[in-house]
Symmetry: C2
Amino acid sequence: MLLPMERSTATNHAAVLDAARTLFADHGYRGTSMKDIAEVLGVRAPSLYNHVASKQDILHAIMDKAMDRAITALDEALAGISDVSEQLRRATESLVLDFLRYPAEVTVCNNEVRSLDPGNRIAIVAKRDQYAGRLRKIIEQGCRSGRFQTRTPQLAAFAVLEMGNGAKSWFKASGRYTDTYVAGEYGEFALRVVGCTDSSGRSPSAKGPQRSKPQVS
Amino acid sequence: MLLPMERSTATNHAAVLDAARTLFADHGYRGTSMKDIAEVLGVRAPSLYNHVASKQDILHAIMDKAMDRAITALDEALAGISDVSEQLRRATESLVLDFLRYPAEVTVCNNEVRSLDPGNRIAIVAKRDQYAGRLRKIIEQGCRSGRFQTRTPQLAAFAVLEMGNGAKSWFKASGRYTDTYVAGEYGEFALRVVGCTDSSGRSPSAKGPQRSKPQVS
DNA sequence: CCTACCGATCGGTAGG
DNA sequence: CCTACCGATCGGTAGG
C-alpha cells in the first residue's frame, strides 16, 4: 500500500540543494536541520547522505554555484562593451537582476559565509572578491579617465554592490515593477553615485528631466 | 586561593549583553550558546539566568537598544533642519555613522530578525519600518518639491539604506579614513542617488569638481 | 530508501 | 555564584 507522497521531485543531488536553499535562506544554516531538508523531500534524514557527503557540502555547493552563476552573468553583460559608463551600467543591472531572480541564493551568500568550514570559506571569499574587484576596476578606470567624479572609488564600489540588496528587500514586498525595470533604475543610481559625466546618450546623470524607460541588455 | 579571572567586567545585565553582542554578530544567534557567552564573562552558563530571563531576551534587548539608539540619533541629526537636501544628507550621515560605530549591533539587527520570537519580531520590525519610513518621507518630499529627480523614491530610499552596509564592510578592512569622512562621502552618494538639484551651497551633485572635505554635523 | 542508534550539545531548571 | 541534571535535538553512522 503506497501512500501518495507530497514530495514533488525525484530525490537527487540537485533536489537536495533546491530544498536546502530556501530553508537556509529563511532559517539560516544553523537553524536548518538535515531532518528539515529531508521533510521537504518526503524522506528521512539519513537518506540525504546517499546524495551529499555532509550538511556542510550542501552549503558550499549552493554558494559555489551561486557565485559562478553571478560571475558568468557579469562576464556576459560586459562582453564587447568598451565604454566605461556602459560597463558600470551593465554590471549593475547584471548584479541587481541576479539578486532579484535568485534571492534565496543571494541571501545565503550574504549571511552564511561564517558558516563555511575554513577551506570552503577561502574559496568562496575568493570568488566574492573577484566579483567585487571587477566592479571596483570599472569605477577606478572611469575615475582615471575623468568620466567619473568621486574621491573614493572603492567606497563607491562597495556602495553600488550593497545597493542591490535594497532592491531585493524591496522587490519582495512590492510587485509593481518588473525585475528589468528595477535593475535599470539601479543602473542609473550607480552612474549617479560615481558622479558620471555623461557622454553616451543613455545616461543623463543627476540633472535634467528623466527619460521614460530604463533599458536592460 | 582565588585565581585571577580573565573576566574584565562585573557580571550584570549590561555585561551579558556586551558579551553576547559580539558573539551573535560573529557566529549568529543559533551559532552562539549560553555557554559561549558565559565563558567570555568567566562564569558558568546557569549563572547567566541571574541576569537575563532567556537567550531570546538577550537577543531582543540587543536589537531593541540598537534600534532606539539609531532612531534617537536620526532625530537629533534632523532637529531644526528644514532644507530637504540637508535633511537627506544628515540622515544618511547619521545612518552611516551608526553603522560604523556600532557594527556588531547593526550586524545583529540585519541578520537575526528571523531569530526573534514572533512577538519580539513584530516590535523590532515596527521600529525598523519607522526608521526606513523617515528616510523615505524625506526623499518623497524632495521629489514633490522638485529638488530631487528620481522616478522611484521608494527604491532610492532602500538603496540609500542599504549603501551603509557597504561602508561597514569596507571600513573594517581599510583604516584609511575616519568614520565622519566616510559618512560624509555617503551623504554625497545619497544626494547623487536621488538626483539632487542643488541649491544649498554644500551639495555639488554629480557634475563638476569635487570639494575638498565632506562635513558632518 | 529505511530503522535504530551513537556521542555531543543545546537551553533551561533544581537546589543550594 | 556553583554542580548536577533534565528532555530535546543535532549531524552522522551501522547495517540492511
